[in-house]
Symmetry: C2
Subunit: 453 residues, 2 copies
């Protein structure tokens, strides 16, 4: 048995700044548009729902943005996270590839989400906000913001997609243990929720609906702001601690990735691992490849349109240019709930449209098979979302074996699967099925895209 190798940094190696890829984009991002006027918006338009520090990060083109010391102090609880060389997996596959993974499941919420929940809570607290409203799908984000709320003394209201609220009572218990309020969405506490319920009392909800409810609550109350766990520039920015640490750890390993792999739902964990390396490619002309892996049942990057769309169902959010399946699209209820979003981060969409990021998609059963193989070799049960990255990595490693080449593959193991064991139970029992998305529903949702410019 060969053994996994761990590359561990000291606390002094926690980055002092986040990396902002906007500084290195070969073409600037398309502007964000006002949902009413369809004209470019400025910081003031976002002030009702976000604290100003976050808004300024959203529009910044500075390459380095300082991480406040109180945020680094909380990061220190679990950061720097380990980077592993997966030697046991390499051996099991018989591959000449060098497989590395960064493990974000060491955070107290079990995923990468606290990397942005902590600074978002910090900035809100600094600006006197009392309460944050947000949405959550699988629960990783809601759990992380609940944790951050407990640390900074903020009330947290989480609108949880109803089907997940019902299927994942332990995620709800997690949030409530930290003192957060967890509301099944669509709910009767918002106009957006009541409108959906009036139309369909049995609605199981979607991220798009839950976002509408949370944004509405934030806009309506003076003491309340909104927080998003993915998609937006500032969220992706906060996640770059992952890749910045991984750069140092790859240096410790005396290696550099030929390919960086991450799963993509809204895009934050992928951006976290990839952007610091992608920035090096943009600045220094390296050949590193970047692979974004998404579920075949919600194929935003591989089958969506690159167009202006809303982030939510009720069309309360600004419009951004992104790969989208249409804000009216409700993906099937597969287990990787964190990847069930109709859109994709504008920065990732932009870089994919420019050819720097290569998307691919897999069905859930093959992803779980990869996850089980990974667990038996490396000891960690990945979150269903992360299994997509595992599957792509194993495929690439087997391709290396076929071709007799040794590539360095780096993927982000963005979280553990402790709250998703029902899915593994179904997989082990042979009950897991692949779900197809409804092509006509996507066509209809895309036909409904707003016509801009």
């Amino acid at each position: 048995m060969s053994d996994s190798v761990k590359y561990l940094l000291g606390e002094q190696d926690i980055p002092k700044s986040w990396y902002n890829i906007n500084a290195d984009l070969p073409v600037p991002l398309p502007p964000v548009l006002h949902p009413g006027t369809l004209q470019p918006i400025g910081p003031a338009d976002l002030a009702p729902i976000f604290p100003m520090a976050v808004i300024m990060q959203e529009v910044s083109v500075e390459r380095e943005i300082e991480i406040p010391e109180p945020v680094r102090a909380v990061y220190r609880q679990w950061r720097p996270s380990p980077l592993y060389r997966a030697r046991r997996l390499e051996q099991a596959l018989g591959t000449p590839a060098r497989i590395y993974y960064k493990y974000e499941g060491v955070s107290p919420a079990g995923s990468h989400k606290p990397n942005t929940a902590i600074p978002q809570a910090f900035y809100n607290k600094e600006e006197g906000v009392k309460r944050i409203a947000t949405e959550t799908g699988a629960g990783q984000w809601g759990s992380s913001l609940a944790l951050a709320g407990a640390f900074f003394g903020l009330e947290i209201d989480v609108f949880m997609v109803k089907v997940s609220f019902q299927q994942k009572p332990y995620r709800r218990a997690f949030m409530e243990t930290f003192g957060a309020r967890c509301i099944a969405s669509p709910s009767d506490t918002t106009e957006a929720g009541r409108a959906i319920l009036a139309q369909n009392p049995n609605s199981t909800g979607s991220l798009g609906i839950a976002i509408s409810e949370a944004v509405e609550m934030a806009a309506r109350r003076d003491d309340t702001k909104y927080a998003l766990g993915s998609v937006l520039n500032h969220v992706l920015l906060h996640q770059t601690v992952i890749g910045l640490e991984a750069q140092k750890q790859m240096e410790m390993a005396g290696d550099y990735p030929d390919m960086v792999i991450g799963c993509t739902g809204g895009g934050s964990n992928f951006a976290g691992i990839a952007f610091p390396f992608l920035g090096e490619r943009l600045r220094e002309g390296r050949n590193t490849e970047f692979v974004a892996v998404e579920p075949s049942a919600c194929p935003t990057l591989t089958k969506g349109l690159f167009a202006y769309d809303f982030g939510d169902t009720a069309h309360l959010t600004p419009l951004v240019k992104m790969y989208t399946l249409g804000s009216g699209f409700v993906p099937p209820g597969f287990h990787a709930g964190g990847l069930r979003y109709h859109g994709m981060a504008p920065q990732i969409s932009h870089l994919a449209a420019l050819g720097y990021i290569k998307p691919r998609s897999y069905h859930q059963t093959e992803c779980f098979a990869a996850g089980v193989q990974f667990a038996r070799a490396e000891g960690i049960i990945p979150a269903p979302e992360a299994n997509h990255a595992v599957k792509a990595t194993i495929d690439e490693a087997l391709k290396c074996k076929e071709e007799g080449v040794s590539k360095a593959l780096l993927f982000n193991l963005c979280g553990h699967g402790h709250f998703d064991m029902q899915a593994y139970s179904d997989y082990v029992a042979g009950k897991l099925v692949d779900q197809a998305y409804d092509e006509s529903e996507v066509a209809m949702a895309l036909a409904g895209l707003p016509s801009v410019g």
Copy 2:
């Protein structure tokens, strides 16, 4: 907000030897007796169920026992585990106490159990064993041995107490993901199981019954051995990596514990954190206090007898002198399943009888209240077992506040509660109740103790 401080060691600080407290006992342990003859047994008597390397550790009086390099190599995946100064909890309590905790939830199985599962699997593999049979209650131990089996290429059969098998399908899924077989106990695969089922077809099982089944399977098959996750000397020995690391980390902190606190079921996590410090007390005459915390519903140390008893229900195991509630006693079904054992490790029992370890007990609701308070301050949701240690620590910290003294309190946070969220859900909903043990059942079980000597 003050911030938690993490004391992190490097890989070179993973201990090279385990610490064997048998070398420092002021009075030697009473002998282990054969279940048939009631005479002291020798290593050969244990050979049908344990590998010889483990048996020799069980009877060793050497102070330091070398950790094999392949075991250290696996430990490196998550060890050294962090030690934290719980400043946010101190602040929330307003206590002058210095609270430290060692966090074993960073292991891939989420608890301290892999510390012994890995070496036990290693020694079995070395001696040509193909399969290991074991029991599990809450599932922490079974999960850890499943993990170790996957790493070392051993088949693992886990007899899981039936009530837990039904209540904790995710623990079962965890074990099956690693390729282990998980059997509800009592089962019809063993004579011991069939005998219980004949008597009571609806038996919900107990650890004592599950041990009988696993021991019987190991004794019956030539290619199969048995492994225990607590109680025995060699298991406690393997867990001393916890305390040995904690000694170095307390040195980093420039502090030394006035009190070491751990929860006790079979005793392994308590011994892991406490024995290295207790050894220093025995050798150097320090004043450190040692507090073993158990559930009021299974009060082995606080209400049991110090007497010879069997480890299992079917009386297949040797007899050891220990605090016991009687091997016929079935504790109520409270949530801290890892503490539901009728006996206590002979080494801990012996040291408690000699006055070196002070036991105390708490009800589960007050323990969960402490766990929630801890989670909100420190970000980690403790396993229900660990909540007992948290409760005692908070009580001691509040006592320090009352008395205006600053003590250094060190406790072992032996695992996280990710697989126990139903309990937190019940607690948050106000549905958790305290259960009393049946005093007449204990009296009857104690009356049935074998008469020895």
